[in-house]
């Protein structure tokens, strides 16, 4: 083979240019990033030691008055507060000194951001969400995730005061503590954030605690229909339940606005989940049986004995109480537990509000920001054959019916704007893919173009040649855009033309 022929052959191999959406690394705010990512270069213990050394020096120089003695934590005595810029714009970094007299304790409270603390002297007793007390000795650190209910916080030793420093990230100008109990208004008393493992249900007629437009997750199995109000789920994180085809876990992450149902079973073992921590502003739940940690938004085991396995999604419909009751009059409804029922109206309202108009910006802790959509726009996510697509609710409300292909599967999505109910189906009947269009304003019925049959929004053919046919449901994952995009970085975004 001569040189010319070899060159000709070599140039048969063509490769693509960089994809148009490939973006340069961010240039601005790089100093800030350098600062924030310092922990990667400087081991955290070393950084903490330096910080403490600086504090020691400062407090020694100023005398003992710089850390005032008190019977509770000295939240008012902030040591420093700085407004952040760049990716954490809108937040303050705050350093506080804590000083407890022997035996003193703080009332139940929450903080509007995560806390990393370090005990300088003495022993701290601490617990969140009514879990068992932990003793943190001098020289150790403690962490409280954002929003955790701090149920115990005191000096562990009745004879020795405790001194600690804590670092918080909170919204600009925000107070550092929210008292959990006001004593005057029992309705605002927060309840422990614990999963329900023995749910109780009431009939639809008894579900007077629900408003027509309250959002819920609906599950059907055999001839059983069950509704789990989102406002209730958001107070527990997970509800374990048994339906005719097995155990399920109904989950909700209030930060991501994500409601998902999983089979609560891995390799034949039934699992009960409990909130553990936040990763990427999304809940991570631990199963009580193996201690494995599961990322709620993806169902993936991120650490523990079952790391690498994935929970199986279970079909679910996110809809309103009126729509679910219309469709399944015999439905059972998760009964709110005492104490939680009082908070249901405000929780439900919040979920309705943020689904319509999400708050600006991504929450603290989000892993990556994909600016193609507002961070808290609600999208219905769908992943098939490793292709992922985000269907923004705003687009679905306009389109109502979407005929699409995801991975190898032709699908149809039906969105009923009046209740924001999104359902999706494999569009094939007897191997042939059908195309659909809305039959009315709310797309409560749709028509297929091939046979002109009429279908309801739940994939059942009501009239026409295909009457009685039921399309196979495809499981959608509704959640805020930041949550979907951080776990599906190459996701396509659907737009209604």
């Amino acid at each position: 083979m001569d040189d010319q022929e070899l060159n000709r052959l070599l140039h048969e191999w063509k490769v693509p240019d960089a994809p148009p959406d490939l973006r340069p690394p961010r240039t601005r705010g790089s100093r800030l990033r350098w600062f924030i990512t310092g922990a990667i270069r400087v081991p955290v213990p070393v950084a903490l030691a330096l910080l403490l050394l600086a504090l020691w020096t400062a407090s020694t120089r100023a005398g003992t008055n710089s850390m005032p003695e008190a019977s509770g934590p000295q939240r008012s005595g902030e040591l420093a507060r700085y407004a952040l810029t760049g990716p954490l714009e809108g937040f303050d970094a705050v350093l506080v000194g804590l000083n407890f007299q022997p035996g003193a304790s703080a009332p139940e409270h929450r903080h509007p951001g995560p806390i990393v603390g370090y005990v300088v002297d003495g022993q701290m007793r601490t617990a969140i969400n009514h879990e068992a007390d932990q003793i943190v000795p001098a020289g150790s650190t403690f962490f409280e995730p954002h929003g955790a209910l701090h149920t115990s916080f005191s000096s562990a030793n009745p004879d020795v005061p405790v001194r600690a420093v804590a670092f918080l990230v909170v919204p600009n100008g925000s107070p550092l503590t929210e008292r959990a109990t006001t004593g005057q208004n029992p309705q605002s008393k927060p309840m422990p954030y614990t999963a329900i493992h023995r749910p109780e249900f009431v009939a639809a007629s008894e579900a007077t605690f629900l408003q027509d437009d309250d959002i819920l997750l609906g599950v059907t199995s055999g001839n059983v229909a069950k509704a789990y109000p989102a406002g209730d789920l958001s107070q527990h994180g997970a509800v374990f339940d048994e339906v005719p085809d097995g155990p399920i876990s109904v989950t909700w992450c209030g930060v991501c606005n994500t409601g998902l149902v999983f089979r609560a079973e891995v390799k034949g073992q039934t699992l009960h989940f409990q909130y553990d921590r936040m990763v990427g502003a999304n809940e991570v739940q631990k199963d009580l049986e193996t201690g494995t940690s599961w990322q709620q938004a993806t169902g993936e085991a991120i650490d523990g004995p079952l790391k690498g396995t994935r929970l199986t999604l279970y079909p679910v419909v996110r809809t309103t109480w009126a729509e679910w009751r219309r469709r399944y009059p015999q439905t059972a409804v998760l009964k709110p537990q005492p104490g939680y029922a009082e908070l249901l109206p405000s929780r439900s309202k919040r979920i309705k509000d943020v689904t319509r108009v999400g708050p600006e910006g991504a929450p603290n802790g989000a892993l990556a920001l994909d600016k193609r959509l507002p961070a808290r726009e609600t999208v219905a996510g769908l992943e098939i054959d490793r292709e992922s697509v985000a269907y923004p609710f705003s687009e679905l409300r306009a389109a109502r019916v979407v005929n699409d292909r995801v991975g190898s599967l032709p699908i149809v999505i039906v969105h009923q704007p009046s209740s924001d109910t999104t359902t999706a189906f494999d569009a094939r009947v007897k191997g042939k893919a059908l195309k659909f269009q809305p039959a009315n304003d709310d797309a409560s019925t749709v028509t297929d173009l091939e046979t002109r049959s009429t279908w309801d929004a739940y994939g059942l053919c009501l009239e026409g040649p295909l009457k009685g046919t039921q399309l196979k449901q495809v499981i959608l994952v509704p959640q805020f855009w930041f949550a979907w995009s951080q776990f599906h970085q190459r996701t396509r975004i659907f737009t209604a033309r």
Binding site: K14, D17, A18, P19, L22, P24, P25
Partner: protein, 173 residues
């Protein structure tokens, strides 16, 4: 380097870096990661580029080459980077389109031969530029390129229209 300079550099050279990475790795995902990392490196250490020593394009391809090799070493700890004795196997002419077959043959070369072929034949760098990018002298580059082309000649022989005679190949003579 201002933000605008950086953006210009990215716009002008991202394709070359991406193609090089794609050819070295055979994967779009790896190519995207590597391209990002090359520009992160430029962002962090803009002063390492000295216009007196060559073009920005050659400099960036040099970074890309170092990152690709680092990655390769992490995955193939006990394999040599270059194997002068390596004799390429002839390709199966029926396995896919000609372009894909050629791609597989190039990627089958040991990394140091592969990068020289890609930099010279596909990205059009001169031997001197390649020598600077891979930190070797021109003579070494020349002989690597020669060995690489010989290997490709053998590997791609079955694609010749007049390739009828079955030849028995041994991997080591």
């Amino acid at each position: 380097m201002t933000d605008a300079d950086f953006q210009t550099a990215f716009d002008q050279h991202k394709d070359a870096v991406y193609r090089f990475a794609w050819r070295m790795s055979g994967s779009a995902a790896a190519a995207e990661d590597l391209t990002q990392n090359v520009f992160v490196s430029l962002l962090r250490y803009p002063n390492r580029y000295d216009p007196a020593r060559g073009t920005l394009r050659a400099f960036l391809l040099g970074i890309a080459r170092n990152l690709a090799l680092k990655h390769w070493r992490a995955e193939h700890r006990f394999e040599p980077l270059d194997d002068e004795e390596m004799v390429a196997e002839p390709v199966d002419p029926d396995r896919g389109a000609v372009g894909d077959i050629v791609g597989r043959a190039v990627r089958a070369l040991p990394p140091l031969q592969r990068e020289v072929v890609i930099l010279v034949e596909y990205e059009g760098l001169t031997l001197a530029e390649v020598a600077r990018a891979v930190d070797a002298d021109i003579g070494t580059i020349k002989s690597r390129l020669h060995r690489a082309r010989e290997n490709l000649r053998r590997a791609l022989a079955p694609l010749r229209s007049d390739y009828h005679v079955r030849t028995v190949w041994t991997t080591r003579s």
